[in-house]
C-alpha cells in the first residue's frame, strides 16, 4: 500500500515538468478593463497555446502594490502611478495604454430624457452647491426641459475605483472649488450624496431614487438603457459619450513620453471630456524569457486585440497613440 503511494507520488513529481512547458505570465490590477483583458488573454492563449496569462482583477491599488513587491509579472491601473510609487518600485515602470473608457452622468428625473451639463454645473451638483433641479444654472443649460422643483439626490461610488478617479480628475480640472475642497482620487471625501457599491450599486440607486444623478461607466449606462447627460467639452460642444468620442479625446491630447497623461477635458470638437486611459504596468527589464513573452503579447494586443475592444464597450487607441506605444513595446527587455 505504502509502496503504491510512493510510486504514485514519484510519478506525479516526474510528470510535473511536463505541465511546466506551458509558460505563465501573471498580472494583477484594475477591475475596469477586466472584461476586455480576460477576452484578450483568452484569445491570445488560442493563438499561442504555450503561454497562459493569468490576470487577477484585484483593483488598481492592489495591482500597483503587487507589481512593486514583484509578486506579479505585470500590473494594471486606471490611474497613473505617482512619482513616489515609481521610486518605490525601483525607479522605472512603463505605462502602456491599452484601451479607453468614459464616465457618464446618469440621471433619473421624471419627464426628462435629455439633459445638458457643463463642467462647473456638474461640479456644483456634486459639491452640493446646486441642490435643486430647477437651479438657474441647470435651467439656463436646459431651456426646453421640464425640470422639477425637487432636491437633487447625488449618488457616487463607495468603493475605491478608477471610475471615481476619472470623474474627480475631470471635476478638479473644470472647478477650482472642487480641486481645493475635494480633489481627485480613487476614493475621495464626498461633500454630499449616497454611496453605491460598484457600477451596479450606483445604477441601482439612481434607478430607484427619483430626482437622482450619479456617474457610471459608459458601457454600464448603455447596457441598462438609462438616460445620461450630454457634457460640454472644451470646444464648447455638448456631447453624449460614445466610443468614437472617447477615442477622439485620446487623439486630442499631447502625449508625454511616459504616457502618464490625463485626457479628461481634452480639446477637440469631438472629444468627450470625461474619458480616461487604462494602463498596463510593465518593468522595462524582465527576468528570463518574460520580457520577450510580454513584448509578443503587446504586439498582438496593438494589432488584433484593439479590434475586440469596441464590442465590449471600450474605445480603442487612436492610430497616433498606437504607433507610439508600438515603439515603446520594442524597448522592453
Amino acid at each position: 500500500m505504502k509502496r503504491n503511494l510512493l510510486a504514485v507520488l514519484a510519478a506525479a513529481t516526474l510528470a510535473a515538468p511536463a505541465f511546466a512547458q506551458v509558460a505563465t505570465l501573471t498580472g494583477a490590477g484594475a477591475t475596469f478593463p477586466f472584461p476586455v483583458y480576460s477576452k484578450w488573454f483568452d484569445e491570445y492563449h488560442k493563438v499561442k497555446p504555450d503561454l497562459q496569462i493569468n490576470y487577477q482583477s484585484i483593483g488598481s491599488g492592489g495591482g500597483i502594490r503587487q507589481l512593486t513587491e514583484k509578486t506579479v509579472d505585470f500590473g494594471a491601473s486606471d490611474g497613473p502611478m505617482t512619482d513616489e510609487q515609481i521610486q518605490k518600485a525601483g525607479g522605472a515602470v512603463l505605462h502602456l495604454p491599452t484601451v479607453l473608457g468614459a464616465d457618464v452622468p446618469a440621471f433619473n428625473v421624471e419627464g426628462v430624457s435629455e439633459l445638458k451639463l457643463d463642467g462647473p454645473t456638474l461640479a456644483g451638483i456634486f459639491l452640493g452647491t446646486i441642490a435643486k433641479w430647477n437651479d438657474p444654472a441647470l435651467v439656463k443649460l436646459n431651456p426646453g426641459a421640464k425640470l422639477p422643483d425637487a432636491a437633487i439626490t447625488v449618488v457616487h461610488r463607495s468603493d475605491g475605483s478608477g471610475t471615481t478617479y476619472c470623474f474627480t480628475d475631470y471635476l478638479s480640472k473644470v472647478s477650482k472649488e472642487w480641486a481645493t475642497k475635494v480633489g481627485k482620487g480613487t476614493s475621495v471625501n464626498w461633500p454630499v450624496g449616497l454611496g453605491g457599491k460598484g457600477n451596479e450599486g450606483v445604477m441601482g440607486l439612481v434607478k430607484q431614487n427619483p430626482n437622482s444623478i450619479g456617474y457610471v461607466e459608459l458601457i454600464y449606462a448603455m447596457q441598462n438603457g438609462v438616460p445620461y447627460a450630454a457634457v460640454k467639452n472644451k470646444a464648447g460642444k455638448f456631447l453624449k459619450a460614445s466610443v468614437e468620442g472617447v477615442t477622439a479625446a485620446a487623439a486630442g491630447v499631447k502625449m508625454p513620453k511616459d504616457y502618464r497623461v490625463s485626457i479628461t477635458d481634452a480639446s477637440g470638437p469631438k472629444a468627450y471630456p470625461i474619458s480616461t486611459f487604462t494602463w498596463l504596468l510593465v518593468y522595462p527589464k524582465n527576468p528570463d524569457a518574460k520580457g520577450e513573452q510580454i513584448k509578443a503579447f503587446l504586439r498582438w494586443m496593438l494589432k488584433d486585440g484593439q479590434r475586440m475592444a469596441p464590442a465590449l464597450g471600450y474605445a480603442p487607441l487612436p492610430a497616433v497613440v498606437k504607433a507610439k506605444v508600438a515603439k515603446t513595446v520594442e524597448t522592453i527587455q
Partner: protein, 323 residues
C-alpha cells in the same frame, strides 16, 4: 485540560473491567491529548497573529493621529486625513437596531417552537430557520436593495409623520441608510437567536414545568417564571453571538447603508460601517497612509468584537452566578 483527560484514560478499564488499556492505548491517548492541545494552540496563535499584524500594519496611522483617530470624524483619502468615529458609530448603531428587533422576535418565536408548537411543526420550522442562516449575505444584500430599501422608502414618510417629533425619524426618505442596515442585519441574526434559544428552552427540565402547572400556573406564567429564567444565560449568549455576527457583517450592510461617513441623529440618513469601508476601499487604496488607516479600522473592529465578547462572558457569568 488534564482534568478532562483523566477520566478518558481510565474509562476503558471501567467498562466491564476488560483490560484493554495496554501501553499502546496510553500512547494513543497521549497523542490525542497533544493533538487537540495543538489544535487549541493554533486558534490562540491565529488570534494573536491577527492582532499583531493589524497593529503592525496600522502603526503609521496611530503615530500620525494617536488615539484621536478614534474620535475624529473626517475621512479624506485625498489629503490623508483619517478618523474612525463615523464608522464606529455606524457599526454599533446598526448592530444595536438589529439586536433590538431580533431579540424579541427570536426569543418569542423560540418560545412558540419549544413550548407551544407540536414537535413535528417545531422541527420543520427549526429546519427552515436554520436554512435562513445559510443564505449568503450578498443574496440578502441584493434582496435588501430590491425589496427592503424600496419598502423602507415607502414607509419612511409615514414614520416621520407620526414619530417625527423624535430626531430619529426625520430627514429625506432615501430608503438607504441606518434603518435599512439595521433591518437587514436583524434578518441575518434572527436565525441564530431563534435556533439557539429554542435549543436552550428545550433543555428546561420537565418536572420544573409540571410543578408550575401543578401549582395552577397558566402557560404564560410557566414560561415567564420557569422557562425563561432557566434559559436566561443561554439566551444572553445567543444574543451576543448574534451581535458579534452583526458587528462584522460586511456585504449586506455595504449594499444598503449608503456608505457615507457621517454621524447624524436620524436613522433615515446614510451612514457607514467599519467592515464596509475596509471592503470598499482596500482594493484601490494605493497610498500607504490610506492603507494603514484602513488596517487601523480593522484593529478597532477587532477591539470592539473583543469588548463585546468580554461583556458577554461577564454577563453570562453574572446571570449564572445568580442562580
Amino acid at each position: 485540560m488534564s482534568a478532562a483527560a483523566a477520566p478518558a484514560r481510565t474509562s476503558p478499564v471501567e467498562r466491564g473491567g476488560i483490560p484493554v488499556a495496554g501501553p499502546r492505548e496510553r500512547a494513543g491517548d497521549r497523542l490525542f491529548r497533544l493533538t487537540v492541545t495543538g489544535f487549541a494552540g493554533v486558534i490562540l496563535l491565529a488570534a494573536f497573529a491577527l492582532a499583531w499584524q493589524l497593529t503592525r500594519g496600522s502603526l503609521q496611522t496611530w503615530k500620525a493621529f494617536g488615539f484621536s483617530f478614534l474620535t475624529r470624524t473626517v475621512w479624506d483619502p485625498v489629503s490623508n486625513d483619517f478618523g474612525a468615529l463615523p464608522f464606529l458609530y455606524g457599526t454599533v448603531v446598526s448592530s444595536l437596531i438589529a439586536l433590538l428587533i431580533a431579540v424579541p422576535l427570536g426569543v418569542g418565536s423560540a418560545v412558540f417552537l419549544a413550548e407551544l408548537a407540536p414537535r413535528r411543526v417545531s422541527d420543520a420550522v427549526s429546519f427552515a430557520v436554520e436554512l435562513l442562516a445559510a443564505v449568503p449575505s450578498v443574496i440578502l444584500g441584493l434582496m435588501g436593495i430590491f425589496v427592503l430599501v424600496p419598502a423602507v422608502r415607502a414607509c419612511e414618510p409615514f414614520l416621520s409623520k407620526w414619530l417625527g417629533f423624535l430626531p430619529l425619524f426625520r430627514g429625506a426618505p432615501y430608503g438607504i441608510g441606518l434603518l435599512s442596515a439595521g433591518l437587514i442585519l436583524a434578518l441575518m441574526i434572527l436565525p441564530y437567536i431563534t435556533s439557539i434559544a429554542r435549543e436552550v428552552l428545550l433543555t428546561v427540565p420537565r418536572p420544573l414545568k409540571e410543578g408550575m402547572y401543578a401549582l395552577g400556573a397558566t402557560r404564560w406564567e410557566m414560561v415567564r417564571s420557569v422557562s425563561l429564567p432557566y434559559a436566561r444565560s443561554g439566551i444572553v449568549g445567543a444574543a451576543f453571538l448574534a451581535l458579534g455576527r452583526a458587528l462584522g457583517e460586511t456585504m449586506a450592510v455595504t449594499m444598503v447603508i449608503g456608505n457615507t461617513p457621517q454621524i447624524s441623529a436620524s436613522l433615515f440618513n446614510p451612514a457607514y460601517s467599519m467592515a464596509s469601508v475596509i471592503a470598499n476601499e482596500l482594493a484601490e487604496a494605493a497610498g500607504d497612509k490610506h492603507l494603514s488607516a484602513l488596517i487601523a479600522i480593522g484593529l478597532v473592529l477587532f477591539g470592539v468584537t473583543i469588548v463585546v465578547n468580554g461583556a458577554a462572558r461577564l454577563l453570562i457569568y453574572k446571570t449564572e452566578g445568580r442562580k
